[in-house]
């Protein structure tokens, strides 16, 4: 009691801290003794030789010991809370700025190609980020709003990409016709998967959707005659500016508008294309949230049983979330196909699903801006950490763990009500459920 009242004045409990530190050191020793303490190398005769690295092992154990000791001593059971270190002036200012973050980001996104016209690398990275923003927003409908854990989202991305590639190759259809078709096909697969699967909840749902993602990939790999198998499909029609191809010479985009030809025109066009697609995803999601269907998704995430007593057909409601999420995945997929000009099952591995899910979780489930920022941080981070070479994933992993400790519910964990009587008050994170399936 008194300790809680005077958190600064409690005595330093060295014994307890020592105990925790010894325990942590033991765990570190157990974990790393084989992983780091011993190493096998190829000897001069070709046989494996065992080298001992007790020095490194000792260093790891020491770091664990000292780290835990200091944490126990200084912080003890207090949560690490960044917010406390921020002066109130900054918080107040931030609160005033928050409504302008979205529009500012949008304006920034609109001028990126103008600002970085000659930086091809950055433009490509931006296109990739926007693709993942769109995927994140699509998955956000399923995971963030409806609370259904989907580990196989990449399947719909793949369906969209292959739909576009196959339709364009076999029937010579253009991008703008293929785009809706790809979306519809992906949504169709979403419903097909949803029917048997949505009776399951939580972990079971996650595992089955994961399996579905793998099945789609395996089918794409093995159905040689239809999908080209592991070789994939190449020579996919590149996008044209409403009929004007991005080529040098007569009839091309540059010639028609009297510009000097540069391949960057196509990149800029692709940039605005994916920006438009992502914005459509966002606008549709924001609108849907204010309609009864969107409210039912969120209610489903909060309490499925209560939904049923209110006459909500939970199966259909989940299916619509699945289908609409899948549809946006399909759109993103066909954009991916037209941008790359080449697709193969390699692009649709589980890691992609995991990345998109990580973006949604990191962004804060259900938050549109959070997801957009998270996508930029994740992919930008990947690029930034490229310098660390083989430690890239390690550094990135630490960064993720750190963020999850400081903001366990993602960057934007609060929730905007869909309807209000007098004033739209933000719902604090602690009330919002995460959904169990």
């Amino acid at each position: 009691m008194s300790r809680a009242a005077h958190p600064g004045k409690r005595p330093l409990d060295i014994l307890a801290a020592l105990k925790s530190a010894v325990l942590a050191a033991l765990v570190a020793f157990g974990l790393f003794s084989l992983l780091i303490g011993l190493r096998t190398d190829q000897g001069p005769t070709g046989a494996l030789v065992l080298t001992e690295r007790f020095g490194e092992l000792g260093a790891f154990v020491a770091v664990a010991f000292v780290g835990v000791f200091l944490r126990e001593l200084l912080l003890r059971d207090k949560r690490i809370d960044i917010v406390r270190f921020v002066p109130p002036v900054v918080t107040a200012a931030a609160r005033r700025i928050i409504p302008f973050v979205g529009p500012a980001l949008l304006v920034f996104a609109l001028v990126v190609p103008v600002m970085f016209f000659h930086n091809r690398y950055l433009l490509d990275l931006s296109i990739q980020i926007l693709t993942y923003v769109m995927l994140g927003w699509g998955l956000n409908i399923v995971v963030g709003l409806a609370g259904l854990l989907d580990l196989g989202y990449v399947a719909f991305y793949a369906v969209g990409a292959y739909s576009y590639a196959l339709l364009a190759q076999n029937f010579g259809l253009g991008f703008w016709i293929c785009l809706p078709l790809a979306g519809i096909l992906a949504a169709f697969w979403g419903v097909l998967l949803g029917f048997p699967v949505l009776r399951l909840r939580g972990d079971y749902l996650a595992i089955v959707t994961l399996a579905f993602g793998e099945i789609i990939r395996l089918v794409l790999t093995n159905w040689q005659s239809f999908t080209g198998g592991p070789n994939g499909i190449s020579g996919i029609a590149r996008p044209s500016f409403f009929g004007l191809p991005f080529t040098d010479g007569e009839g091309g985009f540059a010639a028609t508008f009297g510009l000097e030809f540069t391949p960057t025109h196509r990149v800029v066009f692709l940039y605005y294309l994916i920006l438009a697609l992502a914005l459509v995803t966002n606008i549709v999601t924001v609108r849907l949230r204010r309609l009864p269907i969107g409210r039912a998704w969120e209610a489903l995430r909060e309490d499925e049983i209560a939904c049923r007593t209110l006459g909500i057909n939970t199966t259909n409601t989940k299916l619509t979330a699945f289908a609409i999420g899948a549809m946006f995945g399909g759109f993103a997929g066909s954009f991916f196909a037209t941008r790359q000009g080449f697709i193969s099952p390699e692009s649709f591995v589980f890691g992609e699903s995991a990345l998109v899910l990580a973006i949604v979780v990191l962004g804060g489930m259900g938050s549109q801006i959070g997801v957009a920022v998270a996508a930029a941080v994740m992919l930008g981070g990947f690029e930034f950490f490229r310098e660390f070479q083989q430690y890239r994933m390690l550094v990135f992993g630490f960064a993720m763990v750190g963020i999850m400790i400081w903001r366990p519910r993602g960057l934007v964990a609060t929730r905007m009500p869909s309807v209000f009587l007098k004033e739209r008050k933000i719902v604090a994170a602690e009330f919002v459920a995460e959904g169990r399936g």
Binding site: A306, L310, L421, K422
Partner: protein, 280 residues
């Protein structure tokens, strides 16, 4: 008693078994329209199980549950899916452990209850996406209905706060209001006064009496608090170990020796004594 009125709810030979456990054993009773019918009994008597059967969460092992609307339509509830019972048969319920949408605002909670009419008005989302008048009008009507109930339960000023932030008593009343927003013919309340203090409990009584007086909704009520039950119910059914041991007006139930025995936890032998005494 008026024997000519057709009961709104008729439960016949309802039996629910969980493996070897008979939670409800051959229960028959009926509730008259406009009444508050109370279902009482000691812990584990099977009251919640009866509710779960009525609202479609359990499929009864044996038995029939008929809900008759004032306009003559009847529904066999044991054959309907849970959400259809609310949607078609207009039977709504609350839970022993409050089940609000904690992270949604009070107003949103009530709006979710208007899901089906709003879905229709929004043309299954199509008209709503286009922002057509049919939908905006329906939405306004839903908000008005929500306001009406917020006013009745006295939390209009907290309409835009998360439901999880309300005091306990208000959460209980909000759950009742949310159920009422589906415009039910039958409202099943599972221990709505559990955990309330005297003042909150009185507010709840007032709300239930208001519903009975002003709305064409009959109430089926599970309650442990005898003072509440005796004060507001018109008809009481008593369960013990899944078996109906009494059924009648509050005054008669109060003096029923078997009810007293069940509640006071008398041994079987003593019950036999009491029964011998009253000659059953």
């Amino acid at each position: 008693m008026n024997g000519t009125v057709e009961p709104i709810l008729t439960v016949e030979h309802l039996t629910m078994r969980f493996g070897g456990l008979v939670a409800v054993d051959d229960l028959s009773f009926s509730a008259r329209p406009g009444d508050i019918t109370a279902l009482i009994g000691p812990n584990g008597a099977g009251k919640t199980t009866v509710f779960n059967c009525i609202t479609g969460f359990y499929k009864p092992t044996v038995g029939m549950i008929r809900l008759a609307h004032p306009d003559g339509k009847t529904f066999l509830l044991e054959r309907l899916l849970d959400f259809r019972i609310s949607q078609r048969a207009r039977g709504s319920r609350t839970f022993q452990n409050i089940r609000l949408f904690q992270g949604m605002t009070v107003l949103e909670n009530l709006m979710v209850a208007r899901h089906n009419p709003l879905m229709l008005a929004s043309g299954f989302t199509l008209f709503g996406m286009l922002g057509l008048r049919t939908f905006t009008n329906a939405e306004r009507a839903a908000i008005d209905m929500a306001k009406y109930w917020l006013d009745k339960i006295g939390i209009t000023s907290r309409a835009d706060d998360p439901a999880g932030d309300l005091p306990y008593g208000a959460q209980r009343r909000l759950e009742v209001a949310r159920a009422m927003c589906t415009e039910p013919v039958l409202l099943c309340l599972d221990e709505p006064a559990a955990g309330l203090n005297a003042r909150e409990s009185a507010e709840l009584n007032e709300l239930l009496l208001f519903i009975r007086a002003e709305h064409a909704t009959s109430i089926l009520l599970i309650e442990h608090d005898m003072s509440v039950v005796m004060e507001i119910s018109d008809h009481i059914v008593v369960l013990d170990y899944g078996v109906k041991i009494a059924d009648g007006a509050p005054a008669a139930i109060r003096d029923d020796p078997r009810v007293i025995a069940a509640y006071l936890g008398v041994d079987d032998e003593e019950i036999a004594d009491v029964e011998a005494e009253v000659g059953t």
